[in-house]
């Protein structure tokens, strides 16, 4: 599964990067000025390239936008497969893509829900934080409070979006584990779950973020030591870069796995340790007939034995 995700990341990126390479080749041709870029960044060479051959990059920019949209769909598509495999299904390509296809429609709806909520919350929070910023920095005699408040408020904004993303993550897990069909409801249930278990949810996420920060630190440290002026240096750079990308994908899958465990734990606590309910109402003269809905079809009774639905 990890290899599949890696290939799905590499292939579109490589196609776009090839266009970039062609633009560089076309711009520099047989010029020796490229030698200035052998060691470090050279502004004059870079600038003259953009100034005289920048047009060659225009289609690359357009391709990147298309690529980003396409990859977003790919990531929506693959989430179902990732979660199903994490649910214990054998991670064959057939199983993986089968689950991707089965769950795509639901996850796409969930994505739309998430995007709408994130957009609304993002704008509202930004407006609110903007007012806070104005109030807190009005008449500041140096930029220090302005900069610190800006960082703090941007941090809060990012945290809000991150929490919404976490809600979406737990909604995905809920969808797979409990075979949810209504995504708005799933999102709402996850919201309640995240708010009820706020500290463990955030704590887990902080740990995962720290892991990524550690990976970035290691990457930057190694990259700075690399001499990329030779062909072998470039090959080594490629290997290290791809190891980093691979590890990021691994962290994402790890994130889903950890979130799934947390979700199950929270669900278990909710079913075995119910909160004390309201006092039992006094008996009424005539019993009210209960409307019983049809039982939901579940993918599995036990999470550890869950299987994806077969495609028809």
């Amino acid at each position: 599964m990890l290899a599949t995700l890696y290939v799905l990341n590499l292939v579109p990126s490589f196609v776009l990067a090839w266009g970039f390479r062609s633009a560089l080749l076309q711009g520099f041709g047989d010029s020796m000025s490229i030698e200035a870029l052998r060691g470090e960044f050279d502004f004059t060479v870079f600038f003259d390239f953009l100034n005289h051959h920048g047009d060659a990059l225009t289609p690359v920019y357009a391709q990147i936008v298309v690529g980003l949209c396409l990859y977003l769909l790919i990531s929506v598509f693959t989430t179902g497969g990732v979660l199903t495999v994490l649910n214990g299904v054998e991670g064959t390509l057939r199983n993986f893509f089968s689950a991707c296809g089965d769950l795509f429609a639901r996850f796409f709806r969930l994505f739309v829900t998430y995007a709408a909520v994130a957009l609304a919350a993002g704008i509202t929070t930004a407006l609110f934080l903007g007012i806070v910023y104005e109030l807190m920095t009005e008449g500041a005699e140096s930029e220090k409070p302005e900069v610190l408040w800006l960082f703090a408020l941007v941090g809060i904004w990012v945290a809000v979006i991150l929490v919404i993303s976490l809600i979406a993550d737990y909604a995905k897990i809920d969808t797979v584990l409990n075979d949810r069909g209504k995504m708005v409801k799933a999102f709402w249930r996850s919201t309640k779950l995240v708010l009820k278990n706020f500290l463990p949810v955030i704590g887990l996420q902080v740990l995962l973020i720290l892991l990524i920060v550690l990976l970035i630190g290691v990457y930057w440290g190694v990259e700075r030591l690399l001499d990329t002026s030779s062909a072998w240096g470039v090959v080594l750079l490629f290997i290290i870069q791809q190891a980093f990308v691979g590890s990021r994908i691994w962290v994402r899958v790890l994130s889903f796995a950890s979130q799934r465990e947390l979700f199950l734990s929270a669900q278990y606590q909710a079913t075995t340790l119910p909160e004390p309910g309201p006092p039992v109402p006094p008996p009424v003269a005539e019993p009210i007939p209960l409307k019983i809905s049809a039982p939901r079809r579940r993918i599995s009774k036990s999470p550890s034995r869950s299987r994806p639905r077969k495609r028809k």
Binding site: R21, G29, T228
Partner: protein
């Protein structure tokens, strides 16, 4: 008698103070001292206004009888949206907008020739540059009695001024005041033969968005009264300070041989003093900026040292560097005699060398504006351009050729690179010649051409004639024209003179052809190494028999060609360097006149690479990528950047998995 004595004793300190403040600084005048001012001004910090009395003593050094005076009233540029300044700037300058309600103006309430006629009623606003009837930045006043050659006139004025909310160079922001361009200032009378004047007349331009300076030298005695808690920085030397009973203080400044006077006042400045040779450096730092003390002082001293060594001595004993506070950025990055304003921000990383760049640039104006009084309205390149040239030299020498402007996160840029790219990156580098009136440049053209193109062509000139010859030119120019008003042809004459002394006729009879192209023309320079080729040729049998013991078939003979082209219209002599596979190098000299030229070589060796302008003399060349060709182009940088691009793309795409 006793009463008189007591009164005399009481007033002695005041008289002594006045006498002390009139003490000269220089033992003999350095300049012609044509326009001399005494100003007593009080600052109303609540109303943001000035009330002042001014006495101008102006000397007619021309051979003409002068029957009118012309004055600048700069602050009226901020009077309303109809002024020429506001129309040109669109109400915004350097990214800072004129705030609503923050208008400024100046009004002359009284004007009289001492012991003579009242001039106030005769004031007439004129607009010599654009005829804008709503511009109130220049006025003329006719005189009943003309001023004869050698005579002086003393004019007493009383004026009030409302400072604008700081916008362009001058004004207030809360309790910070940058008081510049603030008093009625007389224009420059140019007799026939001076600069470009065909007949005598006043050179007194309106206040424009781009430029503002041209004035005669003189002595300024300025006293300002303001609240006691304010810290003041000003042009010249503080002679004394008097505390007044009403909680104000009066500060007496004297500046000699300068052509302007500016001051700043703010209660929350942190004052740092330092010394460089004879110069007392006074750094006025705004709150939250003390972290930048060393950056300011190091760059100021670097500039003082460099100009002292390469151009000439700084003649003044003070230099005040002002760091405007947060919100008053419009006052930053400006030059006044012995006072400059920088620009910084809390937390500005060391690698963003904005503080150093601005400080060095503004200090350079002490020479190219301050000591050499060029007309910035008409020949801005001679102050902004020359100054940018020295800014590039100092920045690149002190902070590194590739890192002097920017050095953060692996990205770096030298100041020369910045200047060149600003010019070569223009949408249309042919939009106008540098030699234009500053207010006539189209949007964006002014700074790119006067600052950046000038700096770039000056570097080109320096590399053509050599650094030491260039230094001699600039030293000669400084010594010959300090405290005077030179023009372009005066500078050209010195270039021709010094270059002829050192290089004879190497560059022709003179270098006018160079200035015709880069200064007065609009064309661009672009030389290209178009192609290199190696073709195997077969020699005649007789020729091959000359080779000792080697058969004809075994010998590889080549006809190698290098084709260079001139893509631009600018013509410069240029070298072409050709390298062969046996390590041999041939340097060709090309006049650069023809549209193309081919160099042909025959021999056993093949051309590996060739470069036109291999030493990068022609920094004014708009495209350096096409200056070389090789048979074996290096591909590892292409791969390196492709992989970096791939890596960033993969990471950006990976963000998609956030969902």
């Amino acid at each position: 008698m006793i009463a008189r004595f007591i009164i005399a004793m009481l007033f002695l300190p005041v008289f002594a103070g006045v006498l002390y403040s009139r003490q000269t600084i220089s033992s003999s005048p350095l300049s012609p001292r044509i326009a001399n001012y005494q100003i007593s001004v009080s600052l109303d910090v609540e109303a943001k206004s000035l009330n002042a009395k001014q006495t101008l003593v102006w000397r007619n050094t021309s051979p003409d009888r002068i029957s009118e005076l012309q004055f600048h009233l700069y602050l009226n540029a901020f009077k309303d949206l109809e002024s020429t300044f506001m129309k040109e700037s669109g109400g915004a300058l350097r990214g800072i907008s004129m705030a609503g309600g923050g208008w400024g103006w100046i009004e002359v309430n009284e004007m009289r020739v001492r012991g003579g006629e009242d001039l106030h009623a005769k004031i007439e606003f004129i607009s010599p540059d654009d005829g804008n009837p709503n511009d109130r930045t220049v006025f003329r006043v006719p005189l009943s009695r003309p001023i004869l050659p050698g005579q002086s006139i003393t004019v007493d004025l009383q004026f009030t001024a409302k400072l604008p909310r700081v916008f362009a160079r001058t004004g207030y922001y809360e309790d910070f005041f940058m008081v510049a361009q603030w008093f009625p200032k007389i224009g420059v009378y140019e007799p026939a033969g001076m600069r470009y004047a065909k007949r005598g007349g006043w050179n007194c331009h309106q206040f424009h968005a781009n430029t503002e300076f041209y004035a005669d030298y003189g002595v300024y005695e300025v006293d300002m009264t303001l609240p006691e808690d304010y810290i003041v920085g000003a042009t010249g030397v503080l002679k004394r300070e008097v505390r007044n009973p009403d909680g104000t203080k009066t500060m007496f400044y004297r500046a000699e041989d300068v052509h302007d006077f500016a001051w700043t006042a703010y209660p929350r400045f942190t004052v740092v003093e330092d010394q460089w040779k004879h110069v007392n450096i006074r750094l006025l730092l705004s709150p939250g900026r003390t972290q930048h003390t060393e950056r300011y002082l190091t760059s100021t001293k670097a500039a003082l040292t460099y100009f002292d060594q390469h151009v000439g001595a700084y003649p003044y004993t003070t230099l005040t560097v002002v760091d405007p506070p947060n919100g008053a950025g419009g006052a930053g990055g400006m030059e006044y005699p012995t006072l400059i304003t920088g620009g910084s921000s809390w937390g500005l990383p060391d690698g963003l060398r904005f503080i150093e760049l601005v400080t060095i640039h503004e200090f350079g104006h002490q020479y190219f504006y301050g000591l050499i009084g060029t007309n910035e309205f008409e020949e801005a390149w001679m102050d902004e351009g020359f100054n940018s040239y020295y800014e590039v030299r100092i920045m690149d020498e002190v902070y590194g050729k590739k890192t002097s402007a920017l050095d953060v996160f692996g990205f770096h840029m030298g100041d020369l690179e910045l200047a060149r790219s600003t010019y070569t990156g223009m949408m249309n580098p042919k939009i106008a010649p540098i030699f234009s009136n500053a207010w006539e440049f189209k949007a964006g053209g002014y700074s790119s051409l006067t600052y950046s193109k000038t700096a770039t062509f000056m570097v080109t000139l320096e590399r053509m004639i050599g650094r030491s010859v260039m230094d001699e030119i600039m030293r000669t120019y400084f010594n010959r024209w300090k405290f005077k008003h030179p023009c372009a042809r005066d500078f050209q004459a010195i270039v021709n003179e010094v270059v002829r002394q050192h290089h004879g006729s190497k560059f022709g009879a003179n270098l006018d052809w160079f200035f015709e192209q880069v200064l007065y023309g609009t064309n661009v320079c672009d030389y290209e190494l178009t192609s290199i080729s190696n073709r195997q040729v077969f020699r005649e049998e007789e020729e091959s028999s000359d080779s000792a013991g080697t058969s004809e078939e075994q010998r590889a003979e080549y006809e190698s060609r290098v084709l260079v082209s001139r893509l631009g219209e600018i013509i410069m002599p240029v070298d072409v360097l050709v390298r062969f596979d046996n390590g041999k190098e041939i340097r060709e000299r090309w006049t650069g006149r023809e549209r193309w030229k081919e160099f042909v070589y025959e021999g056993a060796e093949q051309i590996v690479w060739a470069k036109v302008d291999p030493d990068e003399v022609l920094m004014i060349d708009i495209n350096l990528l096409n200056n070389s060709k090789t048979n074996d182009p290096l591909r590892s940088p292409i791969w390196r950047y492709t992989l970096k691009f791939l890596f960033w793309l993969q990471n950006i795409l990976q963000f998609g998995l956030v969902f």
